[in-house]
Subunit: 182 residues, 2 copies
């Protein structure tokens, strides 16, 4: 029973980031790809060097990332993506992305890297992969005065559904292989 | 006068990281490559949410990186490297590298990425690019009971000298193009 199987594999309170980290660890352990999440950028203001070995950061601030969160290499190809969640059910708000992330993905595509986003609708636990090129289209539409979100219908039509599984949790590279005909 | 020119371009109290960040900014602005330094990995223990907009990290610790510091894409190719400095003058200590960084570079090479290290001798301000494959050789030699450093002569022979210039500060991709026959 297929639907039963899908339910049993579904996301149980894990964040999309957790699932992607688990997936990337699987890809690495199974020699499929080398993809890592970048650390959160922090602006460090004060560090207490109590001893040489235990430096304690006492004051620091979150900085905005200048790139996407995930990148790495898969069969010689450069892979770059961002993962975002929304609690909305009928559309994905574009304010989840920052202007410099869009700019970064445009540079990646221009330099022949593979760039995409993984979108999760939290309430229904649905996952989609959207090529950066398609995201740019919706982004430009917003810039030109259009709607500030991508409708779910548009995501279904221009994106690709991703399923949860056991190993790996979210086999996004299988979809990338299909989408980019690799 | 060539030696005079080299002196005028030389590093004036800039760290290798500063120079590489400036170089990467140049590559990005001039549409040559998209290469970024990864943020320093931090273990956050306590955050003070004084207001929604100003979260202050009050306790955090430096974590060891699981990858190298720099990566990105250049003409569709995955580029990955680590930069290290030493105050030694006759050899480069291998304890500048961590076991997981070596492991990471081995994975990158296995997945057809381009991996290397940029080494700087601080006192003479000399820079070298060493292919990861050559670093592995010296690393294995150490593991097998050999010396815990790479002699400067070995670096001169197996590595490639990098020069400072104005724009970009350290044109390492030009050397990569030569070394990997791209
Ligand atoms: Mg993010
Ligand atoms: Mg480092």
């Amino acid at each position: 029973n297929k639907s039963k199987k899908e339910i049993s594999y579904s996301n149980r309170g894990m964040t999309l980031e957790d699932d992607l980290n688990t997936t990337n660890a699987y890809y690495l352990a199974n020699n499929i790809a080398v993809i890592h999440k970048k650390p959160t950028p922090i602006q460090i203001v004060h560090v207490d060097y109590q001893s040489r070995s235990t430096a304690v950061i006492k004051e620091a601030y979150f900085r905005q990332a200048s790139t996407t969160d995930y990148n790495g290499v898969w069969d010689g190809r450069y892979i770059d993506f961002e993962a975002k969640e929304t609690k909305n059910t009928t559309s994905f708000p574009l304010n989840n992305f920052h202007d410099h992330q869009i700019k970064h993905m445009k540079s990646v595509v221009e330099h022949k890297g593979i760039a995409f986003v993984i979108l999760r609708f939290v309430k229904t636990d649905e996952l989609f992969l959207l090529k950066a090129e398609d995201l740019f289209f919706y982004w430009e539409r917003m810039i030109n005065g259009g709607r500030k979100s991508i409708t779910k219908d548009e995501i279904i039509k221009s994106g690709y559904s991703l399923k949860y599984s056991l190993h790996p949790r979210i086999d996004y590279l299988e979809i990338v292989r299909h989408v980019y005909s690799l």
